[in-house]
């Protein structure tokens, strides 16, 4: 056990992290006692949806952020800041646009005080390794997305890190490019041509996680907790069409759509109860679109989430919020990795636009407390109008500013579709009248 511990590259113990609200106070929980351990020779995936704190966790590992509670140690030493021996690859590439490819790769070395000649030599080697030969003097804006991310990798590898942290490194790339880059990286990893001992990656793509990782940590959302830890023992290279691979993907979908332990009141899908429920930004077009898709053949009212994700070309970060909005409004139920339309959902699918809007409005009033609240205030007031700021302030008591803003935007959008109330952008006022 002791020896086992000495081998650990990165150890996060019982990390607790909270949002900070605009006024600097601590807000809702982001991470609730999360522990992660990284051992040599493994690729660990942090899988979860937006709001599960996976990026926060990665930044804690990188020494870029510090948990409010809990201990972090890296390469045997407590983490007090960015650690030598840990490098990070970003979703947005984060390249310096005014530096050439070579200068971007060299920067980390030169900043540490590595002499110019040596830095040049090592940078060229990294560029060579990652397949960027010939692009040394190009500027990032001249490169395609895939090439830019290669620069991101070269820049991370050049400092000879023991641990590579990746924050959704392929999600800003198109499908083909992402696949090529993934394969290239896996080849380098399997052949042991990188100095890296271990990789910790954040992803919201289940297939990507199953394709790359030795261990997948599934995080639940709001607050982020570890929902499951799944070892993946299939040897590289893995085949997406392999039944074992498919089974694992389905299992993870099921796991991520499993109903949480029943909470006595309110909805369990979104954080917060009643008025304090944070709503996702989902367009009403997407809502109708998904109802139609599930209602039609081949699903006929019941669709497995992985298949639905495939046929709608949506990743779980997009898919889940829509599905859960349907569940919240009682148009569908989610269980065991599948979504099933309720009778109301099926009726919705068969209706004309005006009838749909009425039904949507009715369900909105009945099942989303914020909508009911706004409508009640408007009905009560003689002027039938109310500033949005009063609702925003109420929301901010329950959630971070960002969430409050998003929630209000969603309710405006949904309310307009359901014709529950009108909203004037200029004066930021809700009212009951529709513009003439």
């Amino acid at each position: 056990m002791l020896q086992d511990h000495a081998q650990t590259l990165l150890q996060i113990d019982d990390a607790v992290q909270r949002y900070r609200t605009g006024s600097g106070d601590v807000g809702p929980l982001v991470l609730d006692h999360v522990s992660v351990e990284l051992k040599p020779g493994e690729i660990v995936g942090l899988l979860g949806r937006s709001g599960c704190g996976k990026s926060s966790l990665l930044r804690i590992a990188a020494g870029l952020a510090f948990p409010i509670e809990g201990k972090v140690s890296c390469l045997g030493r407590p983490v007090t800041g960015p650690v030598d021996g840990v490098a990070m690859v970003f979703q947005s590439f984060a390249l310096f646009p005014w530096l050439t490819v070579l200068a971007n790769v060299e920067l980390g070395l030169r900043a540490k005080g590595v002499p110019e000649d040596e830095a040049r030599k090592r940078a060229l080697r990294a560029i060579d390794l990652i397949g960027l030969d010939g692009f040394e003097s190009a500027f990032p804006k001249e490169l395609s997305g895939g090439m830019r991310q290669r620069v991101g990798f070269a820049r991370a590898l050049v400092v000879d890190p023991k641990i590579l942290l990746m924050d959704e490194p392929f999600s800003a790339l198109d499908v083909l490019t992402a696949e090529t880059l993934r394969t290239d990286l896996l080849d380098l990893w399997v052949e042991g041509r990188m100095p890296i001992k271990s990789i910790l990656m954040v992803t919201h793509n289940i297939e990507e996680a199953v394709l790359m990782c030795n261990r997948i940590i599934v995080l639940s959302s709001n607050p982020g907790r570890i929902a499951a830890e799944i070892p993946v023992t299939m040897p590289h290279p893995r085949n997406r069409l392999d039944p074992e691979f498919r089974q694992m993907v389905d299992r993870i979908y099921a796991l991520m759509t499993k109903r949480p332990a029943p909470v006595p009141t309110g909805s369990a899908t979104f954080p917060g109860l009643g008025l304090g429920m944070a709503l996702p930004r989902v367009s009403t077009n997407t809502i109708s679109g998904m109802i139609e898709e599930v209602h039609a053949a081949p699903y006929n009212g019941r669709a497995g989430m992985p298949e639905l994700a495939d046929s709608l070309q949506m990743e779980i970060d997009d898919l889940f919020p829509v599905a859960e909005t349907l569940q919240l409004m009682r148009f569908a139920e989610i269980a065991d990795g599948a979504i099933r339309l309720t009778p109301a959902g099926s009726r919705f699918a068969d209706m004309e636009t005006d009838a749909r809007k009425r039904l949507f409005g009715d369900h909105l009033l009945a099942y989303v407390p914020l909508a009911a609240r706004i409508r009640m205030v408007l009905d009560e007031r003689p002027s039938h109008s109310a500033r949005s700021s009063r609702f925003l302030e109420e929301l901010e008591d329950h959630m971070s500013d960002e969430y409050a803003d998003r929630t209000l935007k969603s309710i405006v959008n949904w309310g307009r579709y359901g014709e529950l109330f009108a909203f004037d952008e200029g004066s930021e006022t809700f009212s009951l009248e529709n513009p003439q």
């Binding site: 020494g63 870029l64 007090t80 800041g81 984060a94 646009p97 005014w98 030169r110 804006k141």
Partner: protein, 586 residues
Amino acid sequence: MQRFVAFTSLGRRHLPNQYDLLALLTIFAILVGVVHASRGAIEPLAAPGATEIHLDVAYLPYYAIRTTLRMFIALFFSLLFTFTYATLAAKSRRAEKIMIPLLDVLQSVPILGFLAFLVPFFVTLVPGSVAGFEIACIFAIFTSQAWNMAFSFYRSLRSVPADLIEVSRGFNLTPWQRFWQLETPFAMPGLIWNMMMSMSGGWFFVVAAEAISYNNNTTKLPGIGSYIDAATTKGENGAVLAAVATMAVVIVVYDQLLFRPLVAFSSRFRVELTASAEQERSWVRDAFLRTGWLKPLSAGPQRLFRRFALMRLTLPPGRANPQVAVRAARGSRLGDVAFTAVAAAIGAYCLYLIVTYFAAHFTLGDVGHVLVLTLLTMLRVIFGIVLATLIWVPIGIWIGLRPRIADRVQPFAQFLAAFPANVIFPLAVLLIVTFRLDPDVWLTLLIVFGTQWYILFNVIAGAQAFPNDLREAARSFSIRGWDWWVKVIIPGIFPYYVTGALTASGGSWNAAIVAEYVHAGIKQGGEVRNYTEVASGVGSYIAIATERGIDNQIWLGVAVMSLVVIIYNRALWRPLFVLAEKRLRL
């Protein structure tokens, strides 16, 4: 890039080429000019000809160099100020609370009004030398250049992309390294654009500040501004025109030699995802890149700079620990309270000083009188801007929607904006006297004469940037006439117009101090008669007080004017700006 250079210099092109020759000539000419001009700037006042202005046209190049040198010294100090002040404001949460509003106020205060106080102060610093007057003049130019540069830099520092900050933290870049590797490059395009704007504004001030009249005593620093002043007093219209032509040449030369290359260079620092279609070009930069000797020679300094920018320069241990820093930032409520208390106390004391000073020297009637004058000037500024808007917005839109014309007109409009309008003010006197016009009305036009071009070139830029698909959509729905103006194009260019009009209005307030009180000599039958045209307003009030050396009136004039300008900007321009940013940004 660098390796490539090394190869060419080792290759067959050992000999300097024609571009080297050109570049060397330019550099030597600049060096000689600087040495020559700076010798004059530190002469003792009593030295023969130290402050004498010759109207011989042959002296003009020398005067032009003196004037330009002043501009560049001021620009240097503005940069220094920008790098320190803006950085401090961006890095310290507490300092920011005071420094940014202060900058905002300084930006709207009519600096020209303060000139009178600066002169005696700086002259006593270097008694008996021209240098004192030089410093006062340079300081005046500095005050016209520094604020918007600092603002731009501060804004850039606050908007550095979060992912780039994380990268530099991940690589453990020290604050020094981060400043040179990330923050300064990121701020570069905005800073260079604002430097150009500052230089444009600066010419106006240098012309006004060279011939400093204070207490009925005029000291003339050799320069184009003084030359024009002397020429107009003597009614030498030919000399005035020659000076105007020289000014034009100087502006074109500095633009071509300095700013075009800088703009072309700075396009690299723009954070954008795709390479923009049009590349800014500069023949000077291209020529330099083609030189055989100079470019490799510049590799040495470049490398030195890179090393300088990469020095670690760590703070003493303890501060360098980011976790400690984060914790410290969290638990500092007490510090905030103390800071606010001290700031409030200092503010209250200053207010007390001001109130007692004003109470001792002025009656409410004085203040009321100046307030009325200020409102008169405000009316002029508003009228001028409205007039310029009515004329230039349609013309600017017409030009901007025709790319080929716009490409030709745009540099010209920018040149006109840089051109110091006060150079031609004496000509206005000539016109007013000849045609017996009412100065109260016609001097109003001078206030916006120099600043209207900001509206023009911003509107042109806006119309150029107007998306083509929106134009086509408007055409396909046959939206024409009034509807097209009000619903399509004017909202489309509005953010650009507001930027231009805001700059124009700020400049107009400063121009008012010079434009409401102009004088010129006119030759009539062999003798020169001096005419002075006055429009009543706070500008002429300050100008007259300055000439007569009545300090109290200057204070009162500047104070009331500053206050009105600040209120005017807040009440009128800020809402427009917010509207433009929130609703109409395409």
